[in-house]
Structures are given as structure tokens and as C-alpha cells.
Amino acid sequence: MASSQIVPTPQTPSQQVVRAAVVRFVGDSGDGMQITGDQFTVAAALARNDLATFPDFPAEIRAPAGTTYGVSGFQIHFAADHVYTPGDAPDVLVAMNPAALKTNLRDLKKGGILIVNSGAFNAANLKKAGYGEKNPLEDGSLEGYALLSIDITKQTQNAVKDSGLSNKEANRCKNFWTLGLMFWIYARPLEPTIQYIEQKYGKRAELVQANIAALKAGHAYGETTEVFQNRYQVPPAPVEPGVYRNISGNAATALGLVAAAELANREMVLGAYPITPASDVLHELSKLKSFGVTTVQAEDEIAAVCAAIGASYAGNLGVTTTSGPGMALKTEAIGLAIAVELPLVIIDVQRGGPSTGLPTKTEQADLLQAVYGRNSEAPLCVLSASTPGECFYMAIEAVRLAVSYMTPVILLTDGYLANGAEPWKIPNVADLPKIELKFRTDPVGFHPFVRDEKTLARAWAIPGTPGLVHRIGGLEKDYDSGHISYAPENHERMCRVRAAKIAGIAEDVPEQAIEVGNESGKLLVLGWGSTYGAIREAVERSRARGLDVSHAHVRYLNPFPKNLGDLLRRFDRVLVPELNLGQLVKMIRSQYLIPAESLPKVQGKPFRIEELEDKIRKMLES
């Protein structure tokens, strides 16, 4: 539900209950904003708030200090109710320098709390941020906000002066000072973060001491100074009981893959070439050798996917992870995997394009490439994940379908899911369904393209199996013997059976459900992927305002769930919001011939809930 307004009112500090809050930390890459955000998140989670987070990194590794393009940010939305997105506009903005203020102020809610480190607002930094000679802290331009201008640099230096740290190191503690202050405002305990500091800097006692001192000093600042009119309390959210952790989409994807390997009782080979924002899946999986995972950092994306296909051929689970430009390079090899009908899981963590584009920003524009981007008739299965946590389950689903249907499966996630995080109820491994997987061993009646009658999957006969020695390749094969064949009718038969096999997956996946709202009506908002949270929240808010609108979210993009057409036809109008110029909408219109309308956005950022609400309102008013 909506995050409430937090307008400070002139009264003595007291714990005021709010149902939700959105906080954004912004500063230089070196200011430690990601750690601050992570710790603040843990605190919210431990307080049992529901939450969603989104970090926003600069494209540069370490841009020079003070520049606008070097600003690093972290936003968290936490609430006593269900949370679906990291929030549109922050209630609180913490800006550690002028560049951070410059680039983020416009997002802050009118009247929101603005905490700035005035110590960083010197002439040099103001100039780098593009403020020129003017200091926004002094020229009255921040009047619409609840401005708290604190020299955090100095406060921190004072707090840690006994630690013997160099000036530079002392300054680095600023983020914990800030965190301490924020913990005070939101009435969080300091202990978990103290433990974290001890663990992280354990080897250097002086750092442990200094950072803890800074944290406590920030907290004390809130307690003792009188600048704060309010402290806030966000009550626990009504979440399902269970053991929770915070999880990012990339971590969930990696865990889903490992889980799937275990459920299928197979070892996994990941072939990958580093690329933003997919690299973390490789990093995560490279740690898991004891789970039988081998990661090959290949020389390029082509070799990466080919190694994965080779591994599948030899009976392992072949997986490859990448992003847009890497996907483009893999298409020829994916075509081979389709032709030889081997299982292969391809994770595409979509990012802004075209070409190198906006490598650190999110987008959903690889859909058509995933479905159609190969030479000739080369059908495969395409899935997507809607939330960071769902990446886990869709990764398992990708593996299940790949091995059951002997086909490549593309799982589309994106930069927003990959780096965003949400609390995730940890599943009980024993409850996860096993993945059935049988290698062919019986030579009787065997040829490599003999098919399962139901799934149309060909036999998976791996090297090392006696009696099944055979050859496969990318040339067309005879339907009845698997040998090379250029016969015309056979080619059509093979093209059709490959298509039918993929189409048949629709029988094996859940029917499309309505996420929110009625099963029929005036307007259906049809989404896919990471727009889930924004759409869901916008539809809920619109319904709360009495509008007849529903939300459905497609996870199975090729083939579509078999009831999708019927479901769509039950609505007068269908709106398809996407972080692209209209791709799913093309597929929907073509397949079902319904005048689905597109709501495109390509800004490297997710939808704001408001944008969607506006559009829904306009459509239902018109």
C-alpha cells in the first residue's frame, strides 16, 4: 500500500507510527552508501517490516569524487503492509555531497526530510556538482523541504578522533555516523550493525572501534540535539510465518540454479563471460564447488554458451548467464542447441541498450530477441521472473523445462531485479518437487532423435553409455533415424515437431492467473517481469479508488499459458506496460488479435506507481 506522508510537525520528538516509509541514501561511490543501505535494510527486516530495495550504481568504477556521474544511491521502501516496489519518491533523502543532492533532489517528496552533510558543501564540490558559486544550503532553494544540514564530516571526525585513524580513514566512517542517526529516527537497535562491523573489520581493531563510535555518535546526535521533531515507528508487516532473508535477484537466480541441480540430481556447468548486470550470478556460483557446480569463465560469450551446451551433451546441466550484448553473440550457438535438442538454461539479465547502451540501468527490451532472435525457425522456451525472490523459482522452472523437453530455455530477468532485493521466505528444500530426469540407456529402438510421445522430447543419451554410440550435429536430421537428411518433407516435419514440442510446454505450466482484481471487466493491466511490483501496487490503489481494473502478470512468455487468450478476451481493454517500446504487446496482438495497448517506458528505470495509476485513470475515464 501507499507509503504515507512524513511531514515533520513542530513538536517534541515522540515515536510517531507510520505505515510505510521510503528512504534514499546518496553519496560518492566512496561514501559507502551501499553498506549503509544494506545495514538499514537488515534493521527493517529484523523489525519485520516488509520491504523492497534498489541500489543505483554509477557506470564508472570509481568516478572522481564529487562528480554527478560518480553518485551512488540506495533506496529502501519498508512498511507495515505489503511492499511491492522500492517506492516512487523518497520520504527521506540523505545526501552526502552536493553532486548527490543535485542529482536526487527532484525525486524527494514535497515536504520530505532532507538530511545533508554540509561538510561536503565546499566550493570545489559545489562547482563539480554544477552549482557554480551558489550554495543551495544557503540560497533558500531548499525551502520546500524539511532540511537538516549537519556537518557529518566534522561530527564523525570528532567521534573517532581517539581511534588513531588517519584523516582519510576517519572520514570513511561517515556512513556509520549517518546510519546511527537514521537508526535513531526510525527507532532501530544498533546491535546487529555493531555485530556486522565487528565481523567485517575484525582484523583491524581500530576500525572496529572507530566505526562503532561513529554509529553511536550519530545515534546520540539524534537523541541529544533538538533538531528532530519526530521519530518514526513502522510496525511489523503481516507476513507469512517462516524464516526470511533478504535476497537480490541475482543471488536468487544463482540459488535457484543450484537448487535445481540438486533437485535433478545432476552436476552443473556454468559457462559465462562477465557482463554487467549479470556477473554476480557467476560470482555466486563460482563459490559453490562443493555443490558440484563448475564455473567456466570463458574467453567470450560464444565459448561460454558452447561450453554449457557441451556440458549438457555430456550429461551435466549446462547453464549460461549474460546480458543483452552477450545474448546477441550467443544466438548462433543457441540455434545449434535447438537443432540438436539439448537442454540449456540461458539467463539474460536485461540492461539498457541498444548496443552498450546504459550498462548499469534496467530495461525489458530483449524479449523479442529472446523469442525470435535466431536464424530460421528456431523455437525455444522463454520465461521471466517478476520479483527478486521469484528468480529462485523461475530458475528452477527453467531447468525443469529444459531437461524435460530437451530444449534451451531463456530466463529473462533484468538489472532492476538483479540488484534490487526483497525479504524472501526461505523454502524448505524437502518441499521442493524433484525434477524427473532420465538418461536413455536402452539400445532397443534407439536413435538419437527418437521422441517421447507426450513431451516430444528426444532421448538424452550421454557419451559413456554402452550401445548408444551416435553422432549429432546442426544439419537437418531424419525424423525416423536421426541421420543427416536433406529430404524436403522430412525438413518440414522436423521443423514442425520442434515447434510442436515447444508449443506443448503450455500443457505443462500453470494457467495464467489474475494477480489482483476480477476475472473480467473494463481493463486488464498485463505485465511481465520486474514491473510486477509497480503494476500490482498501481492496480491495488486504483481499485481502492473504485476503478474496475485487474492485473495479470505473464511469467511464461513462450509459449504463453494456454488460457491467456481467453483471459484477455474477458476484458474490454488490455494495457501492457513494459520497459521497452512495446514488445510483449506485439506478441499479444499478433497471437490473439486483440487491440492490446502499449504503455512503453525506456528510461533505464522502473515505472513509478503514479505513472501507472495516471494511465489507468485516464483509460477508464476516457
Binding site: 510465518p241 540459488l255 555443490f291 565459448a303 556440458a311 551433451y313 557419451p463 546442426g474
Partner: protein, 340 residues
Amino acid sequence: MSNVIDPTRLTKKDFETDQDVRWCPGCGDYSILANVQKVMPELGILPENMVWVSGIGCSSRFPYYMNTYGFHTIHGRAPAFATGIKIANPELSVWMATGDGDGLSIGGNQLMHCLRRNVDIKILLFNNRIYGLTKGQYSPTSEFGKVTKSTPYGSADQPLDPASFALGANASFVARSIDTEAAHLSDVLRRAARHSGSAFLEIYQNCNVFNDGAFDSFREKDVRAERTIRVEHGKPLLFGANNDKGLVLNTKTFALEVREVGPNGVKPEDVLVHDETNPMLAYMLSKMPYPEFPVALGVLFAVLKPTYDGTLREQKAAAKAKAGKGDLQKLLRGGATWEI
């Protein structure tokens, strides 16, 4: 089962398929196939435990004719497929057939990285200095100025020497042979088979349709002894019909020279002795300009170093030994958790 074969009793037949061999009549690929099928039974590896991988090209049709597991993949990427196969199942004996186009043109990067990583696969590069399958364009090993379908004015590219390339890529085993010399080819195949790590074997192969006679100037019976030198570890680098010529190092110019050996020439002790573990010597031998020098055939270089797949296997085993087989539930719980 009835079809269990005794690995010590394999014969050539066990490695032959019933497929029609679809190379042009007279193609050098036939004799390479015959030699491979002759040597394979000696290795004591059951056909079902052997995989032949290839890219695209006439030469890359090779797997279809071997009665083993086989994967005819896409152009140039066979080393990457082979790497995946070997990692997934290190028990398999993995072999690769490629051409000068498949392996050195489009596939140069995959080949290079496979060699430097030292993945334990055996690579046969059929060098006919032409693109056969696409009907006669020049390849990276074609001579400068070569006139082909795509270079009617002569090619403007300087050629690559496959063996020098492999040495530049830090390959652990580099050898050369010729399609027509059965005994030599078989010997080198045996050596390659036994090498642990990437074994790179370049085979000069005649494409009688698009580049006929490319190697005749040194492979024909009457000139062979004078125009080639068979290198053998520990043996002096002698050649000529009467072994009367040798390779000598000019220590001033730091370059190899061809010298008569005997009363009118240098002493036998002055002739260089082949040391297949010496990368410099191997590089020199690979780069000797022809026809001023003979073409070096045999195992130019062979050393042992850790294999990529072996290292990965050890890392996995060590990780399992240390942490025990991974506990998925524990993994899912990961870092900070909370219960509700």
C-alpha cells in the same frame, strides 16, 4: 549385456561407421581417417567412452565417420564444446577435428584459449590451406598473393603458421604430420593420444579439388627426404636422403642454418639435438622459412603442466572434501535471516 567389448581387443572395425563417407574421391581426409581408425584401437579406450567433436568444414565431417560419440557443432567453436564435455565428464577421451578455416579463421580465439588453458583434449587440425566446404576461398594458412575465388588479384594477407600460433598460445604439445605418410602420422597420433593436456596436431592435407598439390613440393616421394626433417626428442636434427644435412645454430646471428654434415661440412656433434621440451627450439622449427629450410615434422614440443579440467576437478573434490557435499538448506539460509 551382449555388446560389451573388451578394450584390449578393439580393432579398426570397431571405430568405423556405416555412414557413406562424403568427401571428394581422392581427398586427403580419407587417409587421415584411416590412420585414426587404425590407431584408436591401440589406446584401449572403448568407442563409447570416446567423443569426437568438430566445427564446420569438410574436415569437420570427421566425427560422422567414427563409430564413437560425436558432435558436429558450429563453425569454429569446437574447442569450447569439447571443453564443456571434458569438464562435465573427465572420464571421456575427447578428440577434435578441425580445419585451417574452422580452427584458425573463425575459431582462432576458441582454439587459442583452449590451448593456453591446456584442456585435456586432442586436436587434429587438417590444414589444406583452403576453404574446402565453401568451395575454394583462401584461408589463414594460404600463401600471400594466393589467387582463389575470393582473391582474384591474390590474397593480401600474410599467412599464419599453425604450429607457431599454438606455441604463441602456450600450447603444451605441438606436432605436425602429413596425410599421406601413414607411419609418421600414426606415430604422432599415438604421441598426441598419450599426452595429458591439449595436444595440437597439424596435419598437412591435400584438397585435390580446390588446392591440389599444395604440399607436393615437399611431400612427394622423391623430394621428401630433402625437403622435410623428422624431429625426434634426443636425436640430432638431421635430414636428407643420406642424413647428410643438419640444422646448426649460428651463435653469432642467433639463427638456424642448414649445413652439410660430414667431411666437407660440420661435425655430427655440431648438429643441434632435438629437445621437445625447449619452447625456443620448437618455435624456431615451426618458423623455418621454406624452401630455404626443410619442413619440420613430428613432435615439435611437448611438456607437462596442469590441465584445466584436472585443476577444476581437484578444486571441486577439495571443496567437497573440506565442506562436505554442499548442504542446500544451509546455503539457502545464507547470511542474515530472521524468523516470523
